[in-house]
Amino acid sequence: MNKMHNNLFIRHLVEMILAAALLATPFTAIGATRSPSNDFVSESVSSYPADLVDERPSLIGAVWNYSTQTVGWVWGGLRDNVFSWITPPTPSSLTNVSKPDAVQLFKLLGYAGYKLKEINTDVGIIPGLSFKFGQARELSEADYEYLESNVEEWELKNPGMYASLQRKIIKTVMSVNLSGDYQVSTLKVILLPLPDVAFTMSPKQAFLGEESSTLMRAIQRVDRGVQSLGKEAKK
């Protein structure tokens, strides 16, 4: 009976070691790939100080080490990610966006006649981050062709889903502005808490409000006055 218990214990121990080794392999592999020195310097085992000083670790010790390293790695990753999730980037970091996809989206929205007007960030458990673009100019036919060729070139270089979604935004703006009597006046790209895009459309030939109309008439009167003064000066 005792012998049977011993056999079972040895069997469990071997299984645990094997399981630990299997579990630890990917992490040690990750560690190895993460260390930049591995790419450039090769050291012989005997010259490594730990081999010369430390005792050879026991099997249980090895299992313990692997387990604590694994828990540490998982917790470290979680902690870093959670903090980065709840703290959105600062406005200053966003204006210097370095991700090629985001830069490309901003660039193409610029070609489409839109300029970044606002960046809104909310810090908290449920963070918020959004970009608001406003129409800065109407596009000419040549501008549309230039934009389309740029979108096409980007499509060839970046066929991924993220880039494809961004292209969809540009194409929607283009198709709204090109067809019908409406245009996209503002565009809000919401990244957090849930990705969303809001298009504000307004008629291309909008009627002016009472205040704007009065202002416009005043400008026209001043303009006529300036023109008649100019004609008199020429005489």
């Binding site: 070609y111 800065a136 100019r137 109407e138 596009l139 000419s140 036919e141 040549a142 501008d143 549309y144 062709e145 230039y146 389309e148 060729s149 096409e152 070139e153 060839l156 194409k171 283009m174 198709s175 090109l178 067809s179």
Partner: protein
């Protein structure tokens, strides 16, 4: 057997008669939009489109006449926009099967096509047409870029924000100190020629995208008007057809420093006399055009109506469209040593060419 031979003989004879009278019929159709009766049987292809594509379409049809024994097609040169409009008018033998364009079909045009029932369009790019700046062969180098070109030819230049003054530059070195100290003289096509569009759209409007005073004008009409207005004080000469010959003659009698904007195929034809200048540090060549380093290019497309294609089982409207697609995707047609390259088409990079060939032969339709 005897009967079959007789039938074949009659078929060949009618084919030969058709090929003799068709150039005349084609011309008539192009002018009046009245299609010859042979079109009603679906034996003859109807191709409409850009004037620029005329030589290329003719070269392709010549091959098809010779190799696939197809009857001559009805070819009408109406320009890309009008060609696409006619192509998108609907499905049926009274509408074109193919449109040849010197630009990509726009999303709005695709929508218009769909609204008229033209839902299945096969889009095939065959290459690029490039335009360059040339001088006389014995002239100095003029390393221009968009800014220096715009400063040399624009009617007005921005001084302060929203203030424009007439262009007073008279010498290239005033525009950019790295350019030779010679008088500014520029030869461009008259507004009615296709090449003028490329100058206005790509060179002038391309330059204006980098000028804040022009870029910030909200209205497209006002902005384009400001941007493409050229000086009229004698520094620019506008020439009409035959443009290439007129350019060569004018350059021969002009002082040094005279530059001309011409399609590069003309520059190649007159290479013993003309020198192609670099632009933005890039010399136009087959390599720089194919890898998009050189920007003054126009893509050349054929759009084919899939619903018109007659299948091998005889289902469909028009014969010869499959042969046409096969011909325009052959390496011997659109490759760097193909016959289109010999008459001025810059080929697409190999990987993309292969993808276009594969998609076209599968008759993949536009998905935009």
């Amino acid at each position: 057997m005897q009967e079959s031979r007789q039938f074949m003989g009659i078929k060949w004879l009618s084919g030969a008669i058709l090929s003799m009278i068709f150039p005349f019929l084609a011309g008539q159709a192009a002018e009046s939009q009245v299609l010859p009766p042979e079109r009603a049987t679906g034996q003859v292809m109807y191709i409409i489109g850009s004037t620029l594509m005329k030589d290329y379409t003719t070269a392709i049809m010549d091959r098809l006449l010779k190799n696939a024994k197809l009857p001559p097609a009805i070819i009408a040169n109406r320009g890309s926009a009008r060609g696409i409009e006619a192509f998108c008018a609907g499905v049926g033998l009274n509408t074109p099967d193919i449109v040849a364009t010197s630009r990509r079909i726009r999303s709005t045009e695709i929508d218009s096509c769909r609204a008229h029932g033209v839902t299945n369009i096969v889009e095939i790019q065959v290459g690029y047409e490039a335009t360059g700046i040339v001088s006389r062969r014995d002239d100095q180098d003029y390393p221009l870029n968009l800014t220096s070109l715009y400063r040399a030819v624009a009617a007005e230049l921005p001084r302060d924000f929203n203030d424009f003054i007439p262009n007073r530059y008279t010498r290239w070195s005033e525009v950019d100190p790295s350019l030779p100290n010679t008088e500014i003289r520029m030869i461009i096509p008259v507004p009615s020629l296709g090449g003028r569009g490329l100058i206005e759209d790509q060179m002038l409007q391309g330059a204006c995208r980098g000028i804040p005073e022009i870029k910030t004008i909200f209205g497209a009409e006002d902005r384009v008007k400001q941007c493409i207005s050229l000086r009229t004080d004698g520094h620019i000469a506008e020439l009409d057809t035959p443009y290439d010959l007129n350019v060569v003659q004018t350059l021969a009698t002009s002082p040094p420093g005279t530059l001309a904007v011409i399609p590069l195929r003309f520059a190649t034809e007159h290479k013993e006399f003309l020198k192609v200048q670099s632009f933005d540090g890039v010399v136009p060549s087959y390599e720089t055009v194919s890898n998009h380093q050189y920007h003054f290019t126009r893509p050349l497309y054929f759009l084919v109506k899939k619903d018109h294609i007659k299948s091998y089982r005889g289902k469909g409207l028009v014969s010869g469209l499959r042969e046409f697609i096969t011909e325009i995707t052959r390496e011997s047609t659109i490759g760097p040593s193909g016959y289109l390259a010999k008459i001025g088409v810059f080929s697409i990079e190999e990987e993309r060419r292969n993808r276009i060939r594969e998609a076209s032969l599968r008759l993949s339709i536009i998905d935009r």
